[in-house]
């Protein structure tokens, strides 16, 4: 207004300056911010993908390791590996078993109906499969029962044992909690009724083994050990698990049951499909691997 505020041109210039600088700043800030935001978006998508990959990889590694070890110390007529086919679009279940103790107890008296005792040795003429009683180490137990007793005591007093009839191919888990040197029997400690009868003539026997069963519950891969009610969550975000069995004769099966001989396996292909979420986008990845159960070579 007045000449006191001269130079007036300088004042006008400063306003334009402010506007220009603000608009330039706005433009550059907008550009850099959008760049930063999109970078972060890509980074997050990558992180989600990596995380999903890692989940699939670790789940597959865990299952593959168990499949490789399956059948340890087990004979060919024992179902060391089971693949329960879920059908099209339904996840499969994978069961692997391996014996923890070399000593296998034979069934020496038919086990029919209830009764907590399993007779694993006999003082009279032993039936086929039952070896005569010897107590080499003098601990008061037949040597094979002595091995079991030592294993049981080392395991805290109760072990999971598995009785199996190779002819009917029936088997079940039981809590092995005690043994009786005089009667040559081992005791079932749980109160669960027997699911099947077991016969001496079929060469039924009892194992101390570990069973690991993998299945999906919703989108969580779960592990059940030795048929106990305790369920372990392994990995989440798994949508599907499919297993295919390749046999040494070149044929392929979607399922592998107790009647199939695991010694004829060439490889087992396991595929996992994982689903992740990144913002609104669904992320689907599939990972598969083929493993060869090494103990096939021990048959």
């Amino acid at each position: 207004m007045s000449k006191r505020f001269l130079p007036s041109s300088a004042e006008g210039f400063s306003l334009i300056e402010v506007l220009v600088s603000m608009s330039v700043m706005l433009a550059i800030t907008a550009a850099t911010l959008s760049l930063a935001v999109s970078s972060r978006g890509i980074y997050e998508a990558d992180e989600a993908r990596t995380q999903l990959n890692q989940k699939l990889r670790s789940a597959l590694d865990i299952i593959a390791t168990d499949l490789r070890q399956a059948g340890e110390r087990l004979p060919g007529d024992f179902p060391a590996i089971e693949i329960v086919d879920g059908g099209a679009g339904v996840p499969d279940r994978i069961v692997v078993r391996r014996a923890l103790l070399e000593t296998v107890l034979p069934l020496c008296v038919d086990h029919i109906g209830p009764g907590a005792e399993i007779f694993v040795a006999t003082a009279v003429t032993p039936p086929p499969g039952c070896t005569p009683i010897t107590d080499g180490d003098g601990d008061g137990f037949p040597d094979n029962m002595g091995d079991w007793r030592a294993q049981r005591l080392a395991g805290g007093g109760t072990l999971r044992a598995y009785i199996y009839d190779p002819v009917t191919r029936n088997g079940e888990f039981l809590d092995y909690s005690d043994e009786d040197a005089g009667a040559y029997s081992i005791h079932r400690g749980d109160a669960i009724p027997w699911a099947h009868d077991y016969r001496v003539v079929n060469l039924s026997r009892v194992y101390i083994l570990e069973e690991r069963s993998y299945a999906l519950s919703g989108t969580t891969l779960q592990l059940v050990i030795d048929g106990t009610p305790t369920i372990f969550d392994v990995v989440d975000s798994i949508n599907d698990m499919q297993a295919v069995v390749n046999l040494q004769d070149g044929s392929t099966q979607d399922s592998f049951g107790t009647a199939d001989l695991w010694a004829e396996l060439a490889s087992i292909e396991v595929s996992l499909v994982g689903v992740g979420q990144h913002r609104d986008a669904q992320l689907v990845r599939e990972l598969s691997t083929a493993v060869f159960p090494r103990n096939v070579l021990s048959q």
């Binding site: 210039f13 300056e17 890509i42």
Partner: protein, 127 residues
Amino acid sequence: MSARSESGSTLVETIVALFLLGLALTGILPAFSTILQTNTRCETRSNAVAAAQQVLDALRIEDPESLPMSGASAPQLLTVGGDEYEVITRFCVDAALCSPTRRQIVVEVQRSGSKVFDVETVFAQLR
């Protein structure tokens, strides 16, 4: 006078601020892309390891004596995690490690022509 000096500093301030912002972003943005590259490399490599493991696993069923004493197998195409890998198996690269009952096996995994991973072992029959 004071108004003049304040308005003058706005432009300088803005330029300095933008310069600093640019400097910070040029530092951060490449770091993002490095992370992406590292993740991708990591994934490729772990897939390659899985492919090699699968090929070695399949060889286990063979009697080592029936495996070749020299040369390489035809490239095997394996799809792991959606990507395709070429696996070449070489036998007895180091002849000293081979005998009639023993085979040295070198497995090389390639992705689009370049080597990603290689591993070697010796198989022998203990039965």
